[in-house]
């Protein structure tokens, strides 16, 4: 039998004050990120801003500067041009804000412009995504509704399945995970698009896994062991399920790492969000969810003795 961790006896709850500090800093960063998004200062993806993103492949060598020159000559000034892949691919990602190019005709507009300026340089549209203001507004609304209903759905389940104290702690841990990962992504200047939102929601659903494992054990031990102080029962429970907490997160982490490294550009940020989420979720099951019920219990005891 291979065992990752054997009979650990770590005093996790002793570390909870430090953890609170870390979590509060991360949560504040998350809230600040929300503020940035609200002010329009975070990097938002095409889905939400509208505009065009066009991937062109040229048959002959051309530079980013040359592309910019041609565009400026044709009075298109606000382009972000980026070479992608290897230099020999001659592929460029050209992005324009809403209004700069005409939605539905943007790729044609660019191809025709470059064709007339570069002559025999054959241009193929590898991909184009053009989103008009109506659609980006709709997508924003849909993303918001999805977040709203997912939160409601998850909360209802938690409150049905757990007793009050545990439900509160699990809810805080879930919100903590989502807001912390969101803040980290904004901090890393990652572009927020529909896939990132999808990852955050997936995370909200998955985050509970580790918390459930720990909570179930705490409840079980509370029933069976009476003489221990509450904090020791929590510590004992966490230690007992530590290896499964780490292995369940670990197997999911393995596949997310595979997605992160081999899944390509489209899934890169998506898998990064999940990766961060799994790590933060494991951390929060111990240092947020469990820690909260410990302090809650201590608080109640104090109040009782005062009376």
């Amino acid at each position: 039998m291979i065992e990752l961790l054997k009979n650990t006896n770590i005093d996790f709850m002793k570390l909870r004050k430090i953890a609170y500090f870390i979590s509060i800093v991360l949560i504040l960063n998350g809230l600040y990120s929300l503020f940035l998004v609200n002010k329009g200062k975070a990097r938002m993806g095409l889905d939400f801003t509208g505009g065009s993103s066009i991937q062109l492949k040229f048959s002959k060598d051309i530079t980013v500067e040359k592309i910019r020159q041609i565009a400026e000559k044709n009075n298109i000034k606000q382009l972000t041009i980026q070479q992608i892949g290897k230099e020999t691919d001659k592929e460029f990602l050209i992005r324009a804000g809403t209004g700069e190019l005409q939605t539905g005709k943007a790729s044609e507009q660019l191809v025709n412009m470059f064709k007339s300026e570069t002559g025999d340089n054959e241009i193929t549209v590898v991909a184009t995504n053009e989103i008009g203001p109506i659609v980006s507004t709709q997508l924003k609304q849909k993303a918001f509704l999805a977040m709203f209903w997912a939160s409601i759905g998850i909360l209802i389940y938690i409150w049905i399945r757990f007793k009050f104290k545990f439900a509160v702690a699990a809810t805080i841990a879930t919100l903590h995970d989502v807001i912390v990962v969101f803040g980290l992504l904004v901090f890393m200047k990652k572009e927020l698009d529909l896939l990132i939102i999808t990852a955050l929601l997936t995370l909200a659903g998955y985050s509970l896994t580790d918390t459930v494992v720990v909570f179930d054990r705490i409840r079980e031990n509370l029933r069976n062991i009476l003489k221990f102080p509450f904090i020791d029962i929590v510590n004992k429970s966490i230690n007992e399920v530590l290896s499964r907490t780490i292995i369940t997160s670990g197997t999911t982490l393995l596949v997310v790492i595979a997605l992160f490294f081999w899944g390509g550009d489209v899934l890169h940020n998506f898998s990064l969000a999940l990766l961060l989420g799994i790590i933060v979720g494991t951390y929060s099951s111990i240092f947020v969810a469990s820690a909260i019920i410990v302090d809650w219990e201590i608080f109640e005891k104090k109040r009782l003795t005062k009376k």
Partner: protein
């Protein structure tokens, strides 16, 4: 217990047979030349097979007042279907959305630019007389811009192909609705023109009007642009005519196509366009496959090494899991997208969670000195609710993502949802049945 094994065994075998039947062949089978011999059963999203997605909004401001928006959408849908059929795209999807929009998906389209031209044209053909009385010079300001208030009631100002302004009588003589056929012909100077044929009723009107207006000019107008305005030399009977306009052969062919299919009730505006080239799609499939295989292998190896024979049982359940999910996707006719593949990979990771929880519990029960048999049973029983609790919230998220997501994300939601549902079955019932095959254990590799 013996009965349970039988029931699970039969259900599982049925599911395997069902999945294989629904799934084979999963992807297109091609011959040496690359033509598809048999279509694959898994429907690939536009992001994987390449293609074009369009969302159109009907420009209600420029719509004739007498049609309601819903009617306009219904008519536009029908006409777009005709046009796309004539274009010859395999398995197009053309559907209304929220009574206001039209979504078109053209998988595997080779020439998206041409399709765009054909879809986007209103193709409103009008025949009107040129007004010879009012002069354009009376309708402009000092800068030469047309002033709306100076245009008399019964006329309008349109441009011709060269950009010159012409004064045209508002009254329609005929419209494209009176057309019964249109095809490419070779014109006088060898340039392609579009020849049209009018309905008998239209032909009669055409004859009368041309007979009454010999010497005047007849404007042939397409989408508010005057294509030509020949002088009527004699009464034109027979109901046939041509549209000239320095067309290339392809332009003439496409114009004939849209005229045959009919005009849209109002102009349409593209509000979302998404094209994925076939090469990019193929690249995404490659990357999806690679990450699935690597991620799957890592989990497989880990389980086998860490939990020994029991791990192999979990791995077997995992393989069934993949097979069933793909089988369900094929039978629901669901679309596999790149995020969908990510969902599939993710459920591989999540599916073993259930087995990890069970196995860890069994190990724990063994440590308390239980017999192997009792430890297995206790492990499964005690882990049940932990497993359900930890998966239900993911199911909730998946359902909501499906409700609100767009194409690729729906693909993710579908694979995630079924991946979790199936994993609950395989991790719980299938592996349990395998453990139950033996009544007494003297040793257990876990």
């Amino acid at each position: 217990m013996q009965r349970n094994i039988h029931i699970v065994g039969i259900i599982t075998l049925l599911l395997i047979a069902f999945s294989l039947w629904k799934l084979y062949p999963p992807f297109d089978i091609k011959d040496a030349e690359g033509t598809v011999i048999e279509k694959g059963k898994i429907k690939l999203g536009l992001d994987l097979q390449g293609g074009m997605y369009l969302k159109l909004a009907i420009d209600t401001e420029n719509m004739p007042k007498d049609i309601k928006p819903e009617e306009a959408v219904a008519r536009a849908l029908e006409i777009l279907r005709n046009r796309i059929d004539a274009l010859g795209v395999a398995e197009p999807i053309i559907q209304p959305e929220e009574d206001k929009y039209i979504v078109i998906q053209l998988p595997g389209i080779k020439d998206p630019e041409r399709a765009l031209n054909i879809i986007g044209k209103t193709a409103l053909l009008q025949f009107k007389l040129v007004d010879e009385v009012n002069k354009i010079s009376d309708m402009v300001d000092s800068q030469g811009n047309t002033v709306a208030s100076k245009i008399p009631e019964n006329v309008m100002v349109l441009e011709n192909k060269e950009g010159e302004r012409m004064v045209i009588e508002k009254r329609d003589i005929l419209t494209g609705a009176d057309l019964v056929d249109a095809k490419v012909q070779m014109g006088q100077y060898g340039a392609p023109v579009v020849g049209f044929k009018l309905s008998p009723k239209g032909g009669k009107i055409f004859g009368e009007v041309t007979g009454d207006n010999v010497g005047r000019r007849l404007a042939i107008i397409l989408d508010d642009k005057v294509y030509s305005a020949p002088v009527i030399r004699t009464r034109i009977s027979g109901g046939e005519g041509i549209i000239e306009g320095n067309f290339s052969l392809e332009e003439a062919r496409d114009l004939a196509l849209v005229l045959r299919a009919g005009a849209l009730p109002a102009p349409v505006k593209i509000i979302n366009k998404n094209i994925v080239g076939a090469s990019l799609g193929a690249d995404s499939i490659e990357k999806g496959k690679k990450s699935t295989i690597i991620g799957g292998l890592l989990v497989f190896l880990f389980m086998a090494i860490y939990y020994g024979v029991s791990g192999l049982i979990a791995d077997f359940a995992l393989l069934l899991n993949l097979l069933f999910v793909l089988g369900i996707l094929a039978s629901l006719n669901a679309t596999l997208t790149l995020p969908g593949i990510a969902g599939l990979v993710l459920t591989i990771g999540m599916a073993v969670d259930a087995n990890v929880l069970i196995f860890e519990r069994i190990r724990e029960e063994l440590r308390t000195g239980k017999t192997i048999r009792a430890a297995i049973d206790a492990g499964y029983n005690r882990a049940l609710w932990t497993i359900i609790d930890s998966h239900v919230t993911s199911l909730i998220t998946a359902a909501i993502l499906f409700q609100f997501g767009t194409g690729p994300i729906r693909g993710f939601a579908v694979t995630l949802f079924w991946g979790i549902v199936v994993s609950l079955y395989t991790a719980f019932f299938v592996t349990k049945a395998i453990f139950d095959l033996r009544k007494q254990y003297t040793s257990l590799s876990i």
